[in-house]
Amino acid sequence: MATNGGAGIIQPGIFEDLQKKIDEDTAVKDALRDIVQNLEKQDRAAQSALSRAHSTTTANMPTVIKAASDHIASEIETVQQLSKVASQHPYYRFNYAWSRQMESVCFSILLCGWLGGFGKTEAGQLLTIEEVGQILQIPVNVKDRDTFHLTIEEYLLSLISLLDELSRLARNSVTLGDYRRPLQISQFIKDVHAGFQILNLKNDSLRKRSDGIKYKVKEVEDVVYDLSLRGLLPKDQ
């Protein structure tokens, strides 16, 4: 059999060129990974600061918000860095590299905002996707150009995380003697739940996670029921 050293079927250089293209992609992925890992670290710190909300009374909440906001400020810087690098490449080619972390950052911001951060004068407010985009200084739901942005899916998934966290906060507020907050949370979760119900979701992660909202609605309703049964709800309700 003749083995003619690679000539014949393959024109020389074909696979070398392809290898170069794949290697370039790998280099981009590595650069993105470093930034995303940094973001992940910063977000852990932010969420750790935010988790103190569960053991903090409403009066002392500003200190929690302040601590979380400081961590979020450094996250914003990293997101800027990520946006700069990522925008040099097609957005959806690499978005799997940061999607989960961006969702997590968005959740920290939503929770901090709900507690009364980001210029919200009172607790219980939902930051819109546009407001989150302004805080992160990135565009949202971009359709007409190929650049780094926050997607609707990322926002909605982080909104579900917020509901999970709030259902926990409803119970812990009662422990702290705050009987008003569960009512506020109950109404908020019901309102968001109503919103999710009009979405036509396919069998994807958004569908799976949003299916769990109804249990959160019930959990908080149970807390409110326990309070009302014992006459503990605030009188003005």
Binding site: A2, T3, N4, I9, T26, Y92, A194, G195, I198, L199
Partner: protein
């Protein structure tokens, strides 16, 4: 059913302050899902048409090939053109996973057809150009995965040829600069071995592409060995057997020529 559900919800939740926001999200997500489904359907149709092309190509009577495959090429052209506008700009990579199957299968058909007519491997650039004319981008990944699948077709082609003609098919290449070895013809097996060497030397990196390559690598290696084993049977026992006897590639498992 879902329409009724939506209506009920809207009535009962008209007090939710978030409804306008979610109505906007619904419109955006519906648009995305519709686009995604269009692409998946087109990808499936391209895959089916490509499979038919491959099947026709593996049959003898090459003269008929071009003519009988025309409708399938038309199908591919129509399908890809129909989703081309869904795959532009930002969305070019958004639905890569949905269109990938069709692209890979089409690559397999294009590579096989090109090999049968020219004896060479269709280059990425030429293949990408062909798809670009239809408005669809070809990723390096889909091309490489197509090459893996193409080796399987070459294997089936070689074994069918050995079974029917009793010899390994020779290849006449149109490539420039090929070393002509006196008295030795280049065969399909030589080409398979070259492809095997090149694919084994290719570093796909980590991630989903690396995993896909790993899986296809085993299949590709088995294909080359199937041809080697069949040739061995032909060389060792072929001379003793009467004309028309077909060697087994694998005594335990019959070779699936048509699969």
């Amino acid at each position: 059913m879902s329409g009724n559900k939506n209506k009920d919800t809207e009535i009962s939740s008209s007090s939710s302050p978030f409804m306008p926001m979610f109505e906007h999200f619904r419109a955006e997500l519906d648009e995305h899902h519709d686009r995604r489904e269009r692409i998946i359907k087109a990808s499936r149709d391209v895959t089916a048409a490509s499979k038919k092309i491959i099947r026709t190509l593996s049959q003898p009577l090459p003269a008929q090939v071009t003519k009988s495959n025309t409708p399938y090429h038309e199908t591919i052209k129509t399908q890809l053109s129909s989703v081309a506008k869904d795959l532009q700009g930002l969305n070019a990579h958004r639905y890569a996973r949905q269109i990938s199957g069709g692209c890979q299968e089409f690559m397999e058909a294009a590579l096989f057809s090109h090999y049968l007519t020219t004896g060479t491997l269709l280059s990425y650039e030429s293949a990408a150009e062909e798809l670009k004319a239809l408005g669809v981008g070809l990723s390096v990944e889909d091309y490489i995965l197509g090459v893996y699948d193409f080796t399987g077709e070459v294997m089936r082609f070689a074994i069918t040829a050995m079974a029917t003609s009793g010899a390994l098919p020779a290849v006449e290449s149109s490539n420039e600069g090929e070393m002509e070895v006196e008295g030795e013809r280049r065969t399909v097996l030589d080409d398979l071995r070259v492809l095997r060497t090149v694919l084994e030397g290719f570093n796909a990196g980590g991630g989903p592409f690396g995993k896909d390559c790993e899986k296809k690598m085993d299949v590709m290696r088995a294909s080359v060995e199937k041809v080697e084993r069949t040739l061995y049977g032909l060389v060792v026992r072929g001379a003793e057997r009467p004309k028309g006897w077909m060697p087994d590639a694998d005594a335990a498992r019959p070779v699936e020529v048509e699969g």
